[in-house]
Point group: C2
Chain length 258, copies 2
């Protein structure tokens, strides 16, 4: 079978964060699939067909791209950030697992990219510089109780926490509830970073505390980082503060609630 | 103060994973600091001075680079992968926090890169496609008991787990003990990925199970991914298997030990 499917990470922002490997994979594709907002970031090529779909149609998009590749074409699916973190690579694997046997014979490549949490962390210093957890706040595919249990486990064990999919029109209360939950387990001064659209024209990055964190400051394009007890802020004259998580464990028991 | 320090992520492998942003930051530096093995990946420029240091001298390297930048130079520190994940960005922040006040006036930028876990995950599918934890197995700066507590918390709460710094000559037993610990909490068939030197000439990626995982298969250049109960393997005729973590939570209680 000659078909090929590449699942390509575009990185968080403009072309400056696109790896040469991703660039080459994009150039080699005959057909591009993806959420419209991500496809818009890829320069048009006359020889390529484009298949835009809605943000939430990962499963059907994966199936359509696989079917197209199985017909012998060189197909690419684009993802923002890295395709392996809450993005299209898992949707493609799920589609293969549940799809026709021929899809298992396809040549599949995943091209990694800079995922949002790395871009946001870089903007403020090194809040993910030591052990951390990465959690989606979307309860579309998992129960909210499981999300709460994971938040508790992460905070109690002293992980910093990166939160993907913090809020959407269909999920308006989840982030506020997550903050409330974490306030019961971490000190009020715990640093919280809101990183919106990093690397794009409308980028906005703010550093606050868990006590002051307001869910209304986040939108669909926001990635949050909640520190651990080892996360510190360095104030700087005339510059934005640095936020980092120390490579050394704090002297106190990190499991003790605040 | 005119000095500038850039902390630059080189990505996991060759130039194909270096972002244009990192490329530009490297080109603009007057002095490059870093572990020798990482500096060797950057093409020589006559106008640049090079300052190689040993792998474990992060603190003194950060201080030397900051002092150099404070003298007015454009300085860069290079990291493999992403500088914000168990790498130089946190070391630089720590040095600033404990250093002379002038260092707080410096222009500091962190340039993100593709970190090892994303590159390893991409090679096998999407094992980090849902909630996961990222943990260093090095007990140089934190007690082993804390590492065990974090492994337990991550496995019990249903996170996949990416393990950095799994083993070294000075830390020969930690990975084996971590496997033992996880075997008490996760099913024997839990997928485990060993990803060594991904993107480089001596790349080696293998997929096994938690029951069969052998710590002796890892070295300093290896990144490990241990799945959760939602991590599955798709066998493929004539191709390496795909490993992915489902976006949906499994129907069973993930907190129950195997």
């Amino acid at each position: 079978m000659s078909g090929h499917l590449a699942v390509i990470g575009l990185g968080p922002g403009d072309a400056r964060t696109l790896t040469p490997e991703a660039q080459a994979a994009l150039a080699g594709a005959e057909a591009l699939y993806g959420y419209g907002g991500y496809l818009d970031r890829v320069p048009m090529r006359e020889s390529q067909s484009r298949h835009a779909s809605d943000n939430r149609q990962e499963g059907s998009r994966a199936a359509a791209a696989l079917a197209h590749a199985a017909a012998g074409a060189k197909v690419a699916i684009v993802s923002g950030g890295d395709p392996g973190v809450f993005a299209m690579a898992a949707a493609v694997c799920e589609a293969i697992a549940g799809g026709p046997p021929a899809w298992r014979c396809l040549d599949i490549t995943v091209v990694p990219g800079v995922t949002a949490m790395l871009a946001v962390a870089a903007r403020v210093g090194a809040p993910l510089g030591h052990d951390f957890c990465v959690l989606s706040l979307s309860d579309n595919l998992k129960p909210w109780e499981l999300i709460e249990r994971r938040l508790d486990a992460a905070a109690r064990a002293g992980f910093a926490i990166a939160l993907y999919n913090p809020i959407s029109r269909a999920r308006p209360w989840q982030l506020g509830k997550a903050f409330d939950r974490l306030r019961g387990l971490l000190p009020p001064a715990t640093p919280v970073v809101f990183g919106r659209a990093v690397g794009r024209a409308d980028e906005r990055v703010t550093v606050t505390t868990l006590a002051a964190a307001d869910a209304a400051s986040a939108d669909m394009a926001t990635l949050l980082i909640v520190g651990s007890r080892a996360t510190h802020v360095i104030e700087r004259p005339g510059r934005s503060p640095l936020v980092y998580t120390s490579r050394s464990a704090p002297g106190r028991d990190e499991g003790t609630p605040a």
